[in-house]
């Protein structure tokens, strides 16, 4: 690695680490990089033609947002676990949403795929990739838990065994967190 690259890398790492520290000293100002950033809003069309809007869902309770695709092997392992989360928490106002990152090659396969996995939570297709970009998703699957204040309370990139347990804990924490409570 050249000294120039090392300097650039070190500079970025320091910038990332120091921005929240620098702002945290001022209690009246929210940190520029929030520990629980606001979830990017979206309104999307589900596979069955309905419309969902994150702001509406958040009013009902925490929202689990899963970015996945039909061609992504680790995503296939996560789908049954998300379905179980949906069945376990739907009655408590928790919504699970699947956001398919399939392109034109696989648009026609998404509905049969959802049917094959017997997924009963809403699924939308991010046809233009705008949701992936706005949510800064770099790998699939990536799973978020959005709390009732519309903040991203928990994030997990990729799949590993035990994901269901991790989501479960994050959902329970989000359910226990009340809107009138302290922000951080």
């Amino acid at each position: 690695m050249t000294p120039r690259v090392a300097a650039v890398g070190l500079g970025m790492v320091l910038a990332i680490l120091t921005v929240p520290l620098a702002t945290a000293d001022s209690p009246s100002l929210p940190p520029l990089i929030a520990e629980k950033p606001a979830a990017p809003s979206f309104r999307a069309r589900t596979l069955d033609g309905g419309k969902i809007e994150l702001a509406d869902l958040v009013r009902r309770g925490p929202v689990v947002v899963d970015f996945w695709a039909t061609w992504c092997k680790p995503c296939l392992y996560a789908l049954p676990e998300l379905q179980r989360i949906h069945q376990r928490y739907a009655a408590q106002g928790v919504t699970v949403i699947g956001i398919s990152e399939d392109g034109p090659r696989n648009f026609a396969k998404v509905r049969p795929f959802v049917s094959r996995y017997a997924l009963t939570y809403p699924v939308v297709v991010d046809e233009d990739g705008s949701l992936q970009s706005r949510w800064q998703v770099r790998s699939l699957p990536t799973t978020f838990v959005v709390d009732r204040r519309g903040r991203i309370a928990w994030t997990h990139q990729g799949y590993q065994p035990g994901l269901e347990e991790m989501i479960d804990r994050a959902v329970q924490a989000a359910l226990a967190d009340t809107v009138s409570g302290d922000a951080e």
């Binding site: 690695m1 050249t2 120039r4 690259v5 650039v8 890398g9 970025m12 990332i16 921005v19 009246s28 100002l29 929210p30 520029l32 990089i33 929030a34 950033p37 606001a38 309104r43 069955d48 033609g49 039909t70 061609w71 092997k73 296939l76 392992y77 049954p80 676990e81 990152e101 399939d102 392109g103 034109p104 090659r105 696989n106 648009f107 026609a108 396969k109 509905r111 049969p112 795929f113 049917s115 094959r116 996995y117 017997a118 046809e127 990739g129 705008s130 970009s133 800064q136 998703v137 770099r138 790998s139 928990w154 994030t155 997990h156 990139q157 990729g158 590993q160 065994p161 035990g162 347990e165």
Partner: protein
């Protein structure tokens, strides 16, 4: 433009009461080893990609910074490769700068990014993120049943690194394109839409294209809810006049594309059927559906058919049936016929695929899948290809899960016939991460160096570091070849050595 964006970023950041929010994601990839197809081949490389977005209510501004430096200082660069400013509320989305989008099913236009894919400039070793974006203006609006999209800008074909563009004064964004679409939701989810695109790739040639789309579910329109039959069709062609549209008349030789799809969903049965008829429709800025199955298994994925949109007609049928508590059965058949040149005989791609997925009643994490794939692809000179294999995943003990994947291919490319083997063993811990070992063996004469067979060994360790970072260490030999991600295929360069990838998001 950059000055305006930087000023906007500073303005946002300087407004403390406005709750501006900065989001950052970063990809750092370090390589040390040997790249057989570059000269000299022994080299180190550091690739960095940082995306920063500053949000301020309904306004957002963002930049992407990319940097690549290798030990040979071959096409090094440190560049801001994307910058944009956007406004979005409930009804309107306006973006100035770089963006990605799609018109219809991608027949006329699709721009996109593959966030985790880093490409090598062939033969030169300069690395860059996979990005086919547009630099210009994007406007989108939705009012009740009407949704519209308008765009203008210069497209990026995504085939050159910023370092190449800088060194050879070859801009990545070339040509001019303008277009848009309007969709109206009519009743019970059925939609009709029209698309238009004007594209000037080199400042002299100009093409105008139009398309029409219909999406409906006749059963849903009839009030049937137990069975779904969603249908979609998009027809596109060059220089459409109203009379020709009305009469559905397309003279010979005029670029045209027809895509249609149907689903049937009934209990555990799911069927998708697609048809394609593409003639001279490889526009350079579009991405028509290929109607070729995208596989999760490795050997079928690296030997897939690449769409020849200049002349290809065909279909794809896929059916799946789910048996509760057992798993599912999938069957797929696809075919594409066309010519790569008027003077050469017709070519054919055909594939038949079956897969059996099994679930474990006792272990929720336990799964097994077995497949068989037969194909021919005379577009690529492949007379026949038979691939079979399977994978088994099961919990072991101490929060560990093991996964074994074994695949074998027999390939006939005249005058040769050879075998390929792929096997991997992965051990994952619930809370720590994953270790995987991969062994590939090929008898392909094209890959012979000294003797055959040729073996490729590799190991990977991947682990999350808290919620913000994921680190992946690769060591060993990476086999050159085709890879497909998100429906898009690209070439993975051969590599021997170690690679460290750190993905971060804040």
């Amino acid at each position: 433009m950059i000055v305006v964006l930087l000023a906007a970023l500073l303005l946002f950041a300087a407004a403390p009461e406005a709750h501006s929010q900065l989001s950052i994601d970063n990809l750092l990839e370090l390589q040390a080893g040997n790249k057989p197809n570059t000269e000299p081949s022994d080299r180190t490389d550091a690739y960095e990609q940082l995306n920063a977005t500053l949000s301020f209510g309904e306004l957002r501004a963002g930049v992407r910074f990319e940097s690549d430096h290798n030990s040979e200082e071959s096409l090094p660069y440190d560049q801001i490769t994307q910058r944009w400013l956007e406004f979005q509320d409930q009804y309107l989305h306006a973006r100035v700068g770089h963006y990605t989008t799609i018109l219809g099913r991608g027949l006329l236009h699709r721009s996109f990014a593959l966030p985790a894919v880093v490409l090598d400039q062939p033969g030169l070793g300069s690395r860059y993120g996979f990005l086919r974006d547009v630099d210009g203006v994007l406007l989108e609006g939705e009012w009740g049943p009407v949704a519209v999209r308008a765009l203008d800008g210069r497209p990026n074909a995504g085939d050159t690194s910023p370092g190449f563009a800088e060194a050879f004064d070859a801009p990545r964004h070339v040509g001019e394109m303008s277009g848009g679409q309007a969709f109206v939701t009519v009743w019970r989810g059925s939609r009709v839409g029209v698309d238009y695109m004007r594209f000037t790739p080199d400042g002299t040639r100009k093409g105008e294209y139009g398309s029409g789309t219909v999406e409906l579910d006749p059963l849903r329109l009839a009030g049937v809810t137990r069975i779904a039959l969603p249908l979609a069709v998009e027809y596109a062609r060059q220089n459409p006049g109203f009379a020709e549209w009305f009469q559905f008349d397309t003279p010979d030789g005029v670029p045209k594309a027809l895509y249609a799809s149907a689903n049937l969903l009934w209990g555990g049965l799911g069927v998708s059927a697609e048809w394609k008829d593409y003639e001279r429709f490889s526009l350079g800025i579009n991405d028509p559906p290929s109607l070729v199955r995208e596989h999760t298994f490795v050997l079928p994925n690296r030997s897939t058919h690449l769409l020849h949109a200049q002349d290809e007609q065909g279909y794809q049928l896929e059916g799946s049936y789910r048996l509760a508590r057992w798993g599912s059965l999938i069957a797929n058949t696809s075919r594409g016929d066309g010519k790569i040149s008027p003077s050469l005989p017709p070519r054919r791609f055909a594939e038949q695929y079956v897969e059996l997925d099994l679930e474990s009643a006792r272990d929720p994490a336990g799964q097994a899948a077995f497949f068989y794939d037969h194909s021919e692809d005379t577009f690529e000179g492949v007379q026949g290809r038979d691939i079979a294999g399977g994978r088994i995943k099961h919990a072991i003990a101490w929060s560990l899960t093991g996964e074994l994947d074994v695949e074998k291919a027999h390939i006939r490319i005249a005058p040769n016939a050879f075998d390929d083997w792929y096997s991997s063993l992965a051990i994952a811990h619930d809370h720590i991460g994953t270790v995987a070992f991969v062994w590939q063996r090929t008898f392909n004469p094209a890959e012979q160096i000294d003797t055959l067979p040729r073996d490729y060994f590799a190991g990977t360790v991947s682990a999350p570091l808290g919620q913000h970072h994921v680190v992946t260490l690769f060591a060993g030999q990476r086999r050159e070849g085709l890879a497909c991600t998100a429906g898009t295929c690209y070439t993975v360069s051969a590599f021997e050595g170690a690679e460290l990838r750190l993905t971060s998001r804040f």
